[in-house]
């Protein structure tokens, strides 16, 4: 028999309300949960299973093997992993360096200006990604807008080789992913208590010191969120390297796509590469998360 505390006659009512609340929250989260189970978890389970199967010409043979993983760690593929990580890291760092001043400026701007600037940041999302990449191709082409402009200004004597280079890939990657860095940074910076900066100035710190001691530590969450939003998609990017890059730098997204579509198909290999990438990213995130937790607990002490 359950004993109801005598000093709280509404205990039963509270418990019923709590149960109702729990039930409601379950009802509300169920669609999202089901969606994630069917369209994220189930496909990943299939990918995991496929990564241990044997490749056939058009499909797979249901014979267990570790060949796909063995192949994934050969020098050629490890080099592809390295190139992909280098590209993602470089894109993230450049997006941060370019995005922080922009987010800072927007956060400190007047409301009217702020809204206009935010619209400018969001506008590229209204255009299809392929169209935007093709615009860059036209812009960077040997006889493109950029080269013609520089030639007409007399700044160069012959066209620059930008298209089909690593530089072109970096330029387009930064252009595409920059909004993903600016928006989280802006949302954190906007909530910043600017009086802290004034206080630090009053206490004798210059602007640079104030930035590194106050603004930067307080915008850590925005940097973390923006970094993730840029780094993870940049790691598996396929379209940009394929359309503006060159054969000498083949990235993971391109290799996986090739394994999926080419004949003979090698879906186990594509699955193994995807899962290896996923595991590396997961480990990377865990490390960052623990470092973040550590620094947070240190601050609280």
């Amino acid at each position: 028999m359950k004993i109801i505390p005598y000093d709280n006659p509404n205990y039963a009512l509270q418990m019923a309300a709590e149960r109702r609340k729990n039930f409601t929250s379950w009802i509300l989260t169920a669609p999202a949960l089901l969606w994630l189970i069917f369209f994220f978890l189930v496909p990943y389970i299939i990918v995991i299973i496929y990564s241990f199967l044997t490749a056939d010409i058009y499909d797979v043979k249901f014979e267990f093997t570790l060949d796909a993983y063995r192949q994934s760690f050969t020098p050629a593929y490890l080099h592809t992993f390295y190139l992909s990580f280098r590209l993602a890291l470089l894109t993230t760092v450049l997006c941060l360096l370019l995005g922080f001043p922009v987010a800072y400026y927007i956060a400190r701007a007047k409301d009217k200006v702020k809204n206009t600037l935010l619209i400018f940041i969001i506008i590229p999302f209204w255009t299809n990604l392929i169209i935007r990449i093709f615009s860059w191709r036209i812009f960077l082409a040997y006889n493109g807008v950029l080269n013609n402009l520089l030639l007409s200004l007399g700044l160069i004597s012959q066209p620059l080789e930008i298209m089909r280079t690593d530089l072109a890939v970096i330029l387009v990657m930064v252009y595409v992913y920059l909004p993903y860095m600016i928006l989280p940074l802006y949302s954190v910076l906007e909530k910043l208590d600017w009086s802290l900066l004034n206080a630090s100035m009053d206490l004798g710190a210059n602007e640079v010191k104030s930035f590194f001691r106050i603004t930067l530590p307080l915008s850590k969450e925005g940097i973390f969120a923006g970094g993730l939003l840029v780094f993870i998609p940049a790691l598996g990017s396929y379209l940009i390297p394929q359309l503006v890059g060159n054969q000498k730098s083949l990235y993971l997204g391109q290799v996986i796509t090739y394994k999926v579509k080419n004949i003979p198909r090698n879906w186990p290999m594509a699955s193994a590469l995807s899962l290896t990438l996923l595991l590396i990213v997961a480990l990377f995130l865990l490390v960052i998360y623990f470092l973040y937790r550590k620094s947070k607990s240190r601050r609280q002490l």
Binding site: Q247, Y258, I263
Partner: protein
């Protein structure tokens, strides 16, 4: 007021629902074809003639097409695979045998080409030739001196003139790339013997120093704009580009090349077979075939259409090469398990 708004909203939804269902009365034909491979006016014409809608999608490689068909929920009616992929699709049980009584214009097709097509479709049971063509080299003479391309050999791809310039592309197709190296070394492009592949590997390693990208589509824009100076290309694509730019030139390599035939096939899963038959017959009509050939700039297997073509096309050696040259051309056949050897070689070059 609130109730009035709700009633209006319900009426709008009902109206939209009925509009949607009205448009469904028009039969729909789903076509999956290579990019830039049909005169768009012909699609409109067929739609008007047959009071139907054509949903037209494109692909840039046989592999992409096959992946989409095997994994997609979309039910296409007609597809245009190359010869080796007709075999693959047939083996996979994807194709509907064609009822030739429903295609009266079938008689317009060239018997010699139908005979050639039996190498991948015995008895022409599942496919009919659509266009055939050859692979060669396109270049921009504004940037590539005549002395470099004078030999008209596949080995121009290894010329020191291109080294370090990022200006050469090849097709993103293992059979075409490895095939070119095999032909250059005097082998059939379907040869997968250790000796043949070793020779091809050596050649590809030389070419790879100059190759910027493997891409089956971009050269159409990149050769004219100077981003790419020289590329492995399909003859019809090259001729389409040449029409608008006098600086663009194309040649068929002296050693020979791949000869491919793209074909019309009907999928078993087709939901509108009668309309699909009408469309096949429409394409095989002599006048329609002529117009389509003039647009696509590929060699037509339609003899009746061929007779109507202007001499500028009929006598163009880049579209219809001499019999002597055709002796050096090889049809890409399905290789079964041996395709893995070709792929291994191609991948080694890509990942190098």
């Amino acid at each position: 007021m609130k109730r009035g708004n709700i009633i209006v909203l319900i009426m709008v939804i009902v109206l939209l629902f009925f509009c949607g269902s009205c448009s469904k009365n028009k039969p729909v034909l789903y076509i999956f074809n290579w990019s830039d491979y049909i005169d768009p006016d012909l699609i409109k014409e067929f739609e008007q003639q047959n009071k139907c809608t054509i949903k037209y999608s494109t692909y840039d490689s046989n592999e992409n097409m096959l992946t989409k068909i095997m994994s997609s929920r979309e039910a296409f009616d007609l597809v245009f695979p190359s010869g080796d992929h007709v075999t693959i699709m047939c083996d996979a049980g994807l194709l509907e045998p064609l009822d030739l009584t429903k295609i009266p214009n079938y008689r317009n097709l060239d018997n010699n080409l139908l005979l050639k097509a039996t190498s991948f479709d015995p008895g022409n049971k599942y496919s009919l030739p659509y266009f055939w063509g050859l692979t060669g080299i396109i270049y921009n003479q504004r940037y590539v001196p005549e002395s470099v391309v004078k030999s008209q050999s596949w080995n121009i791809l290894a010329d020191n003139f291109f080294t370090g310039k990022n200006k050469v592309t090849m097709l993103d197709d293992a059979r075409e790339v490895v095939g070119a190296a095999l032909i250059y070394n005097g082998y059939d492009l379907n040869d997968t013997s250790a000796e043949a592949l070793a020779a091809a590997e050596k050649t590809l390693a030389e070419w790879d120093k100059n190759i910027t990208q493997f891409d089956s589509d971009s050269y159409k824009n990149e050769v004219p704009d100077g981003t790419t100076w020289l590329a492995q290309a399909y003859n019809g694509d090259a001729l389409q580009v040449m029409e608008n730019n006098p600086d663009i030139k194309f040649f068929l390599p002296v050693e020979g090349t791949s000869l491919w035939m793209d074909n019309i096939v009907m999928l078993k899963s087709s939901k509108n077979k009668e309309l699909a038959y009408k469309f096949i017959d429409f394409l095989l009509n002599a006048e329609i075939g002529k117009r389509n050939t003039e647009y696509c700039r590929y060699a037509t297997p339609n003899k009746a259409a061929n007779n109507l073509l202007p001499d500028t096309i009929k006598n163009n050696a880049l579209i219809y090469p001499s019999e002597e040259y055709l002796q050096k051309c090889y049809m890409i056949n399905a290789l079964g398990e041996n395709v893995k050897k070709i792929d291994k070689l191609f991948e080694a070059i890509k990942l190098n």
